[in-house]
């Protein structure tokens, strides 16, 4: 049914106005709130929103025409089903009463706040990312500065409450980042190989005399690993190899695996090794020590914090499990996967990377029959685990298939001698072969 859209009252004492511009034409479908025409009065211009939804059937005024409030503007075919229009406020004829100042001026705010077509899809998680369409609040010079420093503007906090990022913000972020690295560096001298992580710089293609190359800046992890390895390399080190028969332990692991899993843990051979190594360190204190050549002292640690090397897409990280000697197999099987996951998600806290007295590097999952790990200075020994395999072992006059785990222990020869290392590793192998042996030692 056609409805009429009339010019609403234009406020106090406005008796006449000029139709400035008609913003719609016959056949247009208009929405409530949509600006449909402009009205000029003396020196002011007002935009008039529609109070109806529907299709315009006829326009009864012309641009430039002088009109009075209440005049018929459009006839609209109100569409059925489109939200019922409230009682028309527009049909009010010219009211001459002077309304209380401003209170009833019925020219609604002309500010359009277009509701997005599908308002719900703006919310996060629907696959729409409206944010990316909105330029980041930073002038071109600042964007360029950030790019040159290898900084992503999304990471830079703005000091201005408006969210606008200034050159100072970028420089401050850059400084924090580089200083952060310094802090870590001083820590590393005593402790850990790699810590803070930064964005890898995008590769840039180029070429040298022989063909195309790609130059990439080292990530912080890479840099720190390199520095730490150079430091560690200064220690004269030897690697000792042995094999542990873990046939029975593997049966035990399989038997308990489900149960541990139900508590949220993951029972791996590494868990047993951790536990055994902690006991071995108690037995062989030299392996849980560091050396101070200047003072000509060996420092024996009375805590057993073991670092576990974790391979992440950003590089090698070595989170530390504290007080391994005090933790049960069950506890360790829960803690280790959590730490490893945190490392992969770059969520490790600095202290979770510090304070280890010994390190285990397990490459068993990837293969290999043995490797020579580098001692993680200032620690004095590191244990490498390679892939275990079924081997024919000569027992009681015959060959029997046994699951053998290759172990390699690198040690700092300044502190530890070959025989000690052989005993240490053999002790570990024995403990892995017959875990209960530990209880009788």
């Amino acid at each position: 049914m056609p409805k009429e859209f009339r010019l609403p009252s234009l406020g106090e004492n406005v008796a006449e106005a000029t139709i400035g511009k008609i913003l719609v034409k016959v056949g247009d479908t208009i929405r409530k709130g949509q600006t449909v025409l402009e009205i000029e009065t003396d020196k002011a211009v007002a935009e008039i929103p529609s109070s109806l939804d529907g299709k315009i059937l006829e326009i009864h005024v012309k641009e430039g025409q002088k009109v009075k409030p209440g005049i018929l503007i459009f006839t609209i075919d109100e569409q059925t089903g489109v939200g019922t229009a409230p009682p028309e406020p527009v049909a009010t004829p010219i009211v001459e009463k002077t309304p209380p100042l401003q209170k009833e001026t019925p020219i609604p705010p002309v500010v359009e706040k277009p509701t997005p077509l599908r308002p719900t899809s703006i919310s996060v998680g629907t696959g729409q990312k409206p944010k990316s369409d909105i330029p980041i609040l930073a002038p071109p010079s600042v964007r360029r500065l950030a790019r040159e420093l290898g900084i992503s503007l999304e990471d830079v906090p703005a000091s201005d409450p408006s969210g606008k990022i200034s050159a100072e913000d970028v420089m401050a972020y850059h400084k924090r980042k580089t200083e952060g690295i310094h802090v870590v560096e001083s820590e590393i001298k005593h402790d850990i190989p790699a810590s803070e992580i930064v964005e890898e710089v995008e590769g840039s293609s180029s070429r040298d005399s022989w063909g195309p190359i790609v130059i990439e800046s080292m990530s912080t992890i890479r840099k720190k690993t390199a520095e730490q390895m150079m430091r560690s390399w200064s220690a004269p080190q030897v690697t000792h190899f042995d094999k542990a028969n873990i046939t029975q332990l593997e049966e035990l692991r399989e038997a308990w695996s489900k149960k541990i899993q139900s508590t949220g843990g993951r029972l791996s051979m590494l868990i047993f090794t951790l536990k055994v190594v902690a006991e071995a360190l108690k037995k062989f204190p030299k392996f849980n020590a560091s050396i101070d050549l200047e003072k000509e002292q060996i420092i024996y640690k009375k805590y057993y914090h073991i670092g576990v090397a974790v391979d992440t897409e950003y590089g090698l990280l070595v989170p530390v499990i504290r007080d391994v000697n005090k933790k049960s197999i069950k506890e360790l099987s829960i803690e280790l996967p959590q730490l490893a996951e945190k490392a992969r998600q770059r969520k490790l806290a600095l202290e979770e990377l510090q304070g280890a007295t010994f390190t285990i590097s397990n490459l068993g999952g990837l293969g290999g029959i043995g490797f020579t790990p580098i001692v993680n200075a200032p620690q004095v020994a590191i244990l490498g685990m390679s892939r275990s395999s079924m081997e024919p072992i000569y027992q009681n006059g015959t060959f029997v298939p046994q699951l053998m785990l290759p172990l390699s222990l690198s040690y700092d020869h300044r502190v530890i001698d070959g025989a000690e290392s052989a005993r240490f590793v053999r002790w570990i192998c024995n403990a892995l072969e017959n875990p209960w042996n530990m209880f009788f030692e």
Binding site: A44, V45, V110, V111, P114, P135
Partner: protein
């Protein structure tokens, strides 16, 4: 074996992108070769595009202004047109500017080679010189800025009466009846020129509106003006056939409001878009890849899929605008010189130099809606601008598209006299991350059209002086 030139950078095509790139390369100390078929740098923009059309449009504006002056009591006689002088003057402007660029090329010690280049491999170009000689260029890096050309309408028809933008600017005579195919900016600009010079211009557009993609409220005042200037505008109309006659072109039109499908026009201007010049460059001898529309694929540093080759300007994708190409070219020069920069504008302004002009930058209202970005839109009608009214140009409109929450300026659209001169401010506002309040609090000179940007910002804040609206602010 032809002569071989060694260089660090070779730039193919000396339009605004190519010469902008070459000049910057030279300024950064890179050994640079610039190759183009013309005598001097300039490209489409200077020889066949922006510059000659603007010179013609200026003439057209003078004529229409003189006509309009009657409204306010100034009467001129009907203009007498000396077509040869008009054409020579336009050519004079072009020669002056391109000659200047030639000078600048020499001063920068750029090796300018007049010829046509194509790739033999990623680092070797074969160049056929205009004087018939042939040479090779061995370049560490090559920048392709080969530009674009007018798109054909169907099969090519060989007739002097069918023009494209390249030929239409060399006005030899004023056709009595001109058909313009395509309601994009080229058709509208050149259609206006011919109409004010005396042609009876009919314009057909296949879609349902002129300037597709531009917000309708910006196009409307232009439409109203064009309805007066042009003879007829047919939207949603197809050109079924063009057939050259002894005199003129026979045209078959199909559309709802076409009463006479078969008509004869003296000339037809085909302005149905532009195509990238990506063929004929020997790209198959490189690792450069091209998309289905013929644009060379590039990353944000304008590197192609070949590590030694960059592409900029029209050939590397839209918007096909000279200033976008220049910016890309300068960026690429910096990248080649070793800087880690990228082409990352937040707004590229576009201007249609019709009467009234239309200019916009950043996000349009249509885009905001289709991308579901929560925006607020503010419109300031020029009928409330003192300056616009003194020019008798109240039909203009300035609008700002801002983020609904942060009030950051995301886009601006202007229709009205000199809109193109005004859009620069809005572009800067977007690049600088300005908010509505920033624009509202910046003093603009009175009485100027630039105030409409300030007032448009104020309007949305409920603080515009010359727009009244009840504010929701509470005391």
């Amino acid at each position: 074996m032809p002569e071989v030139i060694q260089t660090q950078v070779a730039v193919i095509g000396a339009g605004p992108g190519g010469y902008g790139c070459a000049f910057m390369c030279a300024d950064l100390g890179l050994q640079t070769v610039l190759i183009d078929v013309e005598k001097n740098p300039g490209g489409t923009c200077l020889y066949r595009g922006c510059i000659p059309t603007k010179a013609l449009l200026h003439i057209s504006h003078v004529i229409s202004n003189a006509l309009e002056a009657e409204k306010f009591g100034v009467h001129f006689q009907k203009p007498k047109l000396d077509i040869d002088k008009i054409r020579k003057n336009v050519q004079g402007v072009v020669e002056h500017l391109t000659g200047g660029l030639g000078q600048l090329t020499k001063l920068r010690n750029i090796n300018y080679i007049q010829g046509r280049a194509s790739f033999l491999d990623s680092n070797t170009l074969e160049v056929f010189l205009m004087d018939g000689r042939e040479l090779r260029i061995n370049a560490e890096y090559t920048v392709i800025s080969a530009g674009s050309r007018p798109a054909l309408f169907g099969q090519p028809i060989d007739s002097p009466d069918i023009m494209n933008s390249n030929t239409a600017i060399n006005i030899e005579e004023i056709p009595e009846r001109l058909l313009v195919i395509g309601g994009g900016y080229i058709g509208l600009e050149l259609g206006t020129v011919y109409a004010t010079l005396g042609s009876e211009v009919t314009l057909v557009e296949v879609t349902d509106g002129l300037l597709p993609g531009v917000d309708r409220d910006l196009v409307r005042p232009l439409e109203q003006h064009l309805e007066k200037v042009l003879h007829q505008i047919h939207l949603k109309t197809l050109v079924k056939q063009l057939k050259p006659q002894k005199k003129g072109i026979s045209v078959e039109l199909e559309g709802a409001d076409i009463k006479k499908p078969q008509q004869i026009f003296d000339k037809v201007l085909v302005s149905v878009g532009r195509k990238p010049n990506s063929s004929g460059l020997g790209l198959k001898n490189t690792n450069v890849s091209v998309d289905e529309k013929g644009f060379i694929r590039v990353d944000e540093q304008r590197r192609t899929t070949d590590p030694y080759i960059f592409a900029i300007g029209d050939v590397a994708g839209g918007p096909m605008l000279a200033h976008k190409a220049t910016h890309e070219g300068r960026t690429v020069a910096e990248i080649i010189s070793g800087k880690n920069v990228a082409f990352e504008p937040q707004a590229i302004p576009a201007v249609v130099f019709t009467d009234p002009e239309i200019a916009w930058c950043g996000l349009t209202e249509e885009q905001a809606r289709s991308k579901n970005i929560p925006v607020q839109v503010s419109r300031f009608p020029w009928s409330a601008s003192g300056r616009a009214m003194t020019m008798f140009r109240g039909e203009g409109l300035t609008k700002l598209i801002t983020h609904a929450e942060t009030q950051q300026i995301l886009g601006c659209g202007i229709v009205g006299a000199n809109a193109g001169e005004l859009i620069g401010e809005a572009t800067l506002a977007i690049e600088m991350g300005a908010t509505l309040e920033d624009l509202d609090l910046t003093i603009h000179p009175h009485p100027t059209l630039s105030e409409t940007i300030m007032e448009s910002a104020g309007a949305l804040l409920g603080k515009s002086t010359h727009i009244y609206r009840k504010t929701s602010r509470k005391e």
